[in-house]
């Protein structure tokens, strides 16, 4: 896979990990019908951590991070996000979802709304922020992802990379404490991948707690403080990026890395 992030200077000094627990997953299991997709997942994420999740296709990476904001329901075990346990209680689910931002592979912007409306919608309706304030926040974050001039266009008029940056800004407008990314760059052309990764690195430097499913190993090396390798619905290995790449322990990880890095 592409190693585009190598040319960037990333300042890790501000990426502090605190002792406070942001996400706690205990013995979580999930089935699709009779198919056991996630098996005994245990994962604790502290505030400020940047975690990259890798693994072969179909290994359950997407399913796992989608469980964290309850886009998928788990059947056993426990998921606690920011002190709120995810149960079938709708109030809890909406609370967690408004605290956790998510970016998707295909952006999922709302095509019938302008960029600005995409960004102000949730703050206005969920957070009940006054419109004026919501617009100011949206413009602030659109400037941050470097596309304030597109605010009044529709998503269909933007390039893929621009759309993904809007999607990030849209999530940030809710002032989330945790961000989830599900392969945010895998539908993009190489030069657009760079602009999206730059935005994500900036976010990491500001201390955002992030979980990213991605095949951008350069990004993992530079930004992540932990890499998680999944296979067949299980966490097979987790380690610091340097160790993970240079000294993988399990055979599956070695095989996966040799394929993905093309050694």
């Amino acid at each position: 896979m592409s190693d585009l992030a190598v040319d960037r200077e990333v300042d890790r000094s501000q990426m502090k990990v605190s002792d406070e627990v942001a996400i706690d997953i205990v013995n979580m299991n999930k089935w699709y019908g009779s198919f056991h997709v996630l098996r005994d997942i245990n994962l604790t994420v502290n505030r400020g951590e940047r975690i990259v999740i890798a693994g072969p296709s179909g290994s359950g990476k997407s399913t796992m991070i989608r469980c964290i904001n309850r886009l998928e329901e788990h059947q056993s075990g426990k998921i606690v996000v920011d002190g709120t346990e995810l149960t079938s209680d709708l109030k809890n689910i909406d609370k967690v979802r408004s605290e956790v931002g998510m970016c998707f592979q295909h952006f999922n912007l709302f095509p019938h709304l302008t960029i600005l409306e995409n960004c102000t919608l949730a703050p206005i309706w969920v957070r009940k922020v006054p419109r004026k304030e919501a617009v100011d926040t949206a413009m602030y974050f659109l400037e941050k992802v470097k596309i304030p001039e597109q605010a009044n266009k529709y998503p269909g008029q933007l390039s893929g990379g621009q759309q993904q940056r809007v999607a990030i800004a849209r999530s940030l407008c809710m002032r989330p404490r945790i961000m989830l990314f599900d392969e945010p760059t895998s539908a993009l052309d190489p030069e657009m991948i760079k602009e999206v990764l730059d935005t994500m690195i900036e976010l990491a430097q500001e201390g955002m707690t992030m979980l990213c499913v991605t095949h951008e190993m350069g990004f993992a090396r530079q930004v992540a403080n932990r890499v998680i390798f999944m296979d067949q619905g299980q966490i097979v290995e987790q380690n610091e990026p340097e160790e993970f790449f240079n000294n993988p322990r399990s055979e599956r990880t070695k095989l996966f890395l040799s394929q993905i890095l093309g050694h």
Binding site: N69, R97, F104, P111, H112, L121, A122, W125, Y154, P155
Partner: protein
Amino acid sequence: MSNTHADTVLFVRDTMLPQQEPPASTVGALGWAKANLFSGWFNTTLTILSALFILYLLSGLVPWFASPTWYAASLTECREILAGHEGACWGVIRERWLQLMFGFYPSELYWRPVLALVLLFVAVAPVLFADYVPSKLLGFTALYPFIAVWLLWGGTIWAPVMALLGFVVAFFVFRYASKQISPALALIAGVIAALLWWMVITPAITPDLSRLLPIGIEAVQSRQFGGFMLSITIGVTAIMCSLPIGILLALGRQSDLVLVKAICVGFIEFIRGVPLITLLFVASTLLNIFMPPGTNFDIILRVMIMVTLFASAYMAEVIRGGLAALPKGQYEGADSLGLDYWQSQRLIIMPQALKISIPGIVSTFIGVFKDTTLVSIISMFDPLGLSNAIRADTAWNGVYWELFIFIGAVFFIFCFSMSRYSMYLERKLQTGHR
């Protein structure tokens, strides 16, 4: 390309070419005709043959249409004027067009349905042309149904006022209750309050109110309604009500709640499986059997309910198609931002699903409007029913084409306007590709 010429392949443009006019034979009317009508011998032959055919049709139709019978007072008179030539007998339209429009509505009160129609346009303007009409008018839109009913049927003003107050009562009960109990229960409380208001309080005090404050206009019976007025009254009601009911049915059909889903599916499949005429017969005869004796449940109201239910079932399926066409990512995008079910439906899902379904929705509207002619089956005088009544008059016995052409033309104007509007709306809602 061969390598031996590699040195001659190098090319660098040093002057940019200015824009030039296209050749004259490709632009303008001439260019259009050449490209579209006379490109090649086959197209040219077709064009000439079609032109001849159209000429032949016109040579038959124009004299028929242009017959000087506007002032004839009966079919016999028409025949005298035409003196054996073929021709239309337009006298019937001149004499009876008001009847085709208003049925047996008292002619000195024609201004009331006309005013109701004009106000209808005012009421729908802020909905249909939101870009040009101030949204303050929406308040009038909400009041319009009550105004229209009063204008059309007349009678004491207290009946529509009490009906309107029922909604106000329901709203305040809901507002007050939703602070104390859950929204769903508050909604039920509001509905119960409104029903109590309409069924208990209204019948108790309306007669006294009308006696004390006798404000009202002359009452018109439903039997006197007819013609396009009847079609439009039933059609507009069914169109306005079927859209929201159809949306709820479509959502109910997708619901996770088994009972809600079963009810919606059952309703939709039952209504779609039964011809509209059957439902109309039920409305005109069977319903009376179930009603307590002595209740006067207006026939037009019964028909409106049946046509609305019928249209809602079709509408629900059209909207379900729109919902199915939305990518799953839209639901996930809305969910991931913390929008609740009704918010994401209202702000994200429905605007897009309805936009996709516009052609189907408008087709359903047009179908419903034309189906209102079926009420002639249960001896109500829609335009077609009236055309029979007109032929029953000895003066016009035998006039078919002229009446049908007139009725068809009026229906066409309405349906074509709806279709053009939907195209305008689709263009307006176009927001880039994808």
